[in-house]
Symmetry: C2
Subunit: 198 residues, 2 copies
């Protein structure tokens, strides 16, 4: 890419670091960006830096928010005794879209994966246990239906059951191996309705 | 996406305006960006704005450059009497990678496409004709081997031939319907070697 400009080379390099974007895609994006108006490129750049600057974890559930608490955790309309445990904020968003869940969430930011060297201490599990010292009636484990998600669910179940709190797992309406965020809303809703005790 | 933060919503919206990036991909990218360090996000944002700010057309061939002339046009090692006409800077880069072409280029920034409402006046054709007033021995038309590229090639041939300048078209080593930028270097080289007069 040195045929034109070090600025383009640098832009392509920066873009190709993003997930799912190879060198060819990065080149396409770079040339597209060069064809945008200057205002548009500034808006894009500012969206990146200001999101990074202003967005942090919700103090309660660890999803992304720009306040101290996320809208779900700060809502008096939600049932704060029911906690749905998800792997990441995208899964939370997927369940929020169903409009059928009125409890709160806990975002683990990952799942236990011995293969990838991710243990219980690498995800927000201690933070979940701290929350369970409050008045909690149920923990719904909505981790993905794959090896890591199931391992994490079993681990959580073993930790939570001794506390006398109901632990449930969303039903297998979610297909095996499926990533929550790509599932349609009806399926997600049915999986919630059909949840079974663990 | 209003479950977390307007900053995330805005970032997702900005990213999903880029070509080939849908809402799901934009969400993935946004969360990836949030997980980057602040320095990394600043580097990405600055790459975008500084490329847009510093990169412009080469005064001679209209590829992207940050100088007045691109490295090819300013090189005394290149044959400035031989001009290869390409649709965009990515195609120029593809031919430069072969290392087998020592002439210069002319970047049209598009191709004639009556279907898309793109006429000869919408691409850098007048600029090519201006260059041909100098001492030029050959115009090699390396537009894509599809309807628009062939139409453009024929159009250029009709304009250039009356000037007594040789006009050639790269050989059909490039597969029909193929985009130059995805072709391997050997095929590109063979297409150049096998070029025929128009």
């Amino acid at each position: 890419m040195e045929f034109y400009s070090s600025h383009i080379t640098n832009l392509v390099e920066q873009l190709s670091r993003l997930p799912g974007i190879g060198v060819k895609s990065a080149q396409r994006l770079a040339f597209y960006i060069l064809n945008m108006t200057e205002d548009q490129t500034i808006a894009l750049a500012e969206a990146i830096t200001s999101a990074k600057k202003n967005v942090h974890y919700c103090k309660e559930c660890y999803t992304y928010t720009d306040g101290e608490l996320c809208p779900v955790c700060s809502s008096p309309q939600r049932n704060h005794k029911q906690i749905m445990v998800v792997e990441n904020p995208r899964d939370l968003a997927a369940y929020e879209k169903t409009g059928k869940y009125d409890g709160v969430y806990h975002v683990l930011h990952g799942a236990i994966s011995p293969m990838a060297g991710i243990g219980p201490q690498d995800i927000k599990l201690a933070e979940l246990m701290t929350r369970l010292q409050g008045d909690i009636s149920e923990v719904i484990v909505a981790t993905n239906k794959n090896l890591e998600g199931d391992t994490t669910a079993t681990y959580i179940s073993k930790l939570v059951k001794p506390l006398g709190i109901r632990v449930s797992r969303i039903a297998s309406g979610v297909p095996a191996g499926g990533d929550l965020e790509y599932i349609d809303e009806v399926t997600l809703y049915r999986a919630l309705e059909g949840r079974t005790d663990m």
